[in-house]
Symmetry: C2
Subunit: 323 residues, 2 copies
Amino acid sequence: MNSEFAFIETIRRRFSLSKIGDDCAVLPKDSKTDLVITSDLLVEDIDFRFDWTTPEFLGHKALAVSLSDVAAMGAKPVWAMLSIGIPETIWKTDFVEKFYDGWFGLAKKYDVELVGGDVSKTPDKIVIDSIAAGLVRKNKAVLRSGAKAGDLIFVTGSLGGAAAGLTLLENGVRYDAAANTWQRNLLLKQLSPLPQIHAAQDLNEKNLATAMVDISDGLSSDLAHLCHASKVGAEIFAEKIPLHKNLRAIGKSFDENLDCALNGGEDFELLFTVNPKKKFQFENELKNYNFSHIGEMTANVETIELISDKKSSILEPKGFRHF
Amino acid sequence: MNSEFAFIETIRRRFSLSKIGDDCAVLPKDSKTDLVITSDLLVEDIDFRFDWTTPEFLGHKALAVSLSDVAAMGAKPVWAMLSIGIPETIWKTDFVEKFYDGWFGLAKKYDVELVGGDVSKTPDKIVIDSIAAGLVRKNKAVLRSGAKAGDLIFVTGSLGGAAAGLTLLENGVRYDAAANTWQRNLLLKQLSPLPQIHAAQDLNEKNLATAMVDISDGLSSDLAHLCHASKVGAEIFAEKIPLHKNLRAIGKSFDENLDCALNGGEDFELLFTVNPKKKFQFENELKNYNFSHIGEMTANVETIELISDKKSSILEPKGFRHF
């Protein structure tokens, strides 16, 4: 059996599933609107560790990962469902209440209504399935497949912070009074990521993104997904990748920090492409956002070139995969 | 911490969640249609055992439990999502392919499209979250809350089979060549239940059900949910409960078989109520279905009386609960 990506591709072809393969499925709602919907499974000891996070952070992150998928379609999140399985020992504590506090804290910010879900017992690990849905103008969901050669590539915010936060956790640093400010910033990026909802909606309302994907698996992987869906290639510039400002504090080399930003995953920033003819409009109308222009799409199908010090190398997708 | 039902009720009140508490959430789709949606978590060693079932049965059942919720709203299922977490050892086998075969076998029968989901690794147990959505005429979803005192209570099919099948599994009987026909019937009821989709849609198209719920936790529990939501009570007749035809073969007493039917759960039949004024229309237009009239709703709020040999006793909800 191959990776989960290969497996999903096989299932998609075998059963002719046209709605599988983007950040969300796009479903017709009414004459003016489409519904987008996504489901994300979070498993203890695979996607998170109980003693590395807090119930509130975990509740927040469960919703954030799904809202990030909704954002990647350029949609406005509207409702969500939450299924949670927990061991009896955890059920007896205040974990679940605090978990829902974290979930609702983020839901309130974007006016997302909890409409359903399930509560189940598990033998010994926590498992969460987070479902979120959003609305978008008819046929205007931003797909992974819309990029053309020549389109400019942008990312929101900065990259590598979540992976660095994970390294801190692995090294025993916790989000507590003993942590420095720079450590807390990196830990927050890992434990309590913020989906880029407003930026995505603004981009879409102005028809500026030709393709979009959220950076959950890692820039190298998610850019590869976008290239695959759009049947194009990409070249990106190492010096233009926006590294998280606190990466330097860890004291590693530029190349190590770059690796974190390229392959780390879980930043939940957005990667999107813009038609070069709209560059002026883009710069003019979206100047309030922190977007970085990191490269261009090319006709070199499914090949990603990384330019560093004017030297080019092939960037292989190295982000997180389950199998 | 109380039962999961009490917990969900607390969350519902605390965050004013109006769409929580029925078999599905009802969401506006367009001017003529509502969307109903449900999510069901199935956890290994809680909801199923790996060596008691087959991958195909498990795939079938994962979808069946959610389609049963869609049926309970009187809706027509249209699409579904499937999130599955599996250990690496299982990923390397043909389990996942066979699981999807079972899932798609049922999906094809009701023209349900897989539109999304997630695939994740777990440390050691399988976990499945099944999401299904259906369409129903605007404001015509059949809720749990519509029953009035005097309404007639019906159930589809027969009860107790799934619980008896579970007892067989616990006693070492498997769905294989060594099993008798009656054992296979009971095992199928537990391992591969059939959602009552056509009956539910017919009932709803003819405006015949005032309230409906699927029998997943057990008749006593699910009737209690319906009484609670409708703010009424019920009286049901022991002799009218349709026992599964193969229950007798187990060789237990009538009272033990009745207990199986009242409290066993997982039959995935439907429990619904009909206005007595519509009794003639109901009997006339739905005579092709196997419905049993088991009692009446009463004004004795949230009290369920069980009449047996003309003696009345209070029936407490005793179905399955996680906590």
